[in-house]
Symmetry: C2
Subunit: 181 residues, 2 copies
């Protein structure tokens, strides 16, 4: 659980109170912001706890999913740099993720036939089996958490979340890794 958040969000009345001391404070904006962080953290926790129980983490899961292509019955092969780019982490971080995954037998590093600088990362049978074991419950959890929203509410959420994400990445572009959306 990566985010550290106030367990009990500031009450709205409290925000209004503080707003008197800080002219720049927009109470309803802060309220949305805090709820967004808190709910994002809760959602993250729901899947992360499941990953952890299966010996994975969000990062390792993302790597496995990138290599996984159920529809083709095949597995993709990517270089560490490609995986890092698609995952949104640095190449150094990807080295660590692949180290752990390879140690646990989920993926293999194979040399690239033409460019000896590059490696090809591929899922092993064990990695595929781990995903097949994990995914049903993973999707069940997501469906369960979101079951409280109607289809209309889901559309609304996606629309508003997209507006916020676009606003954030345009107004405050990520310093290094791409924040394009």
């Amino acid at each position: 659980m990566p985010l550290l958040l106030l367990k009990d969000l500031p009450r709205y009345e409290c925000l209004l109170e503080v707003a008197q001391q800080f002219p720049g404070l927009d109470p309803s904006a802060c309220e949305v912001f805090l709820h967004l962080l808190r709910t994002g953290d809760e959602a993250f926790r729901v899947t992360e706890e499941h990953f952890h129980a299966k010996g994975l983490s969000q990062g390792r899961f993302t790597v496995l999913m990138l290599l996984y292509d159920k529809t083709c019955g095949e597995t993709h092969a990517f270089t560490p740099a490609q995986l890092a780019e698609m995952s949104g982490v640095t190449r150094a971080t990807m080295t660590g993720l692949i180290d752990t995954l390879e140690r646990d037998g989920m993926v293999t590093r194979r040399p690239h036939p033409e460019d000896r600088r590059q490696l090809s990362v591929e899922l092993t049978k064990k990695g595929i089996a781990r995903l097949d074991d994990l995914l049903p419950e993973h999707f069940r959890r997501i469906a369960s958490v979101m079951s409280v929203l109607s289809e209309t509410e889901r559309k609304t959420m996606v629309r508003l979340l997209s507006k916020i994400a676009a606003s954030a990445s345009e107004t405050f572009p990520a310093s290094v890794a791409g924040g394009g959306a």
Copy 2:
């Protein structure tokens, strides 16, 4: 930036495709879920980058804010255990946060007069000054990111986010640290 996420979210059509392989996969639920994680991460990044520029982190900022009470003109005093409980981190993590904050002169540890097991953590003048320096821009960033939403949209967001958070913490209660609504 704690969360690792796909840089480019899976397209909705792609989700529909995969859904054929996984009967339990609810495409619109996954779509909301992915957008929620992604937008939460973007929002987190916007303030975290600012904290970092001011020599703080989300965790240390939360501690300072818990000790800060602008309206009273006073600072609160809490024990590390209270701060950990309010922040939603373990006592061990709080020890580390207070270590760093004390090293940087933002807070002080003082012995509790009656119970020698306990400590009292208080803001220093320097800590207050750091917050006074940081908060205007902090609130400006939040207001700026949320400026793309109308007041009606903000109310909608808070309502829907609350539903999701409640659903998550009820259906999948946090394993150790409290997940109370």
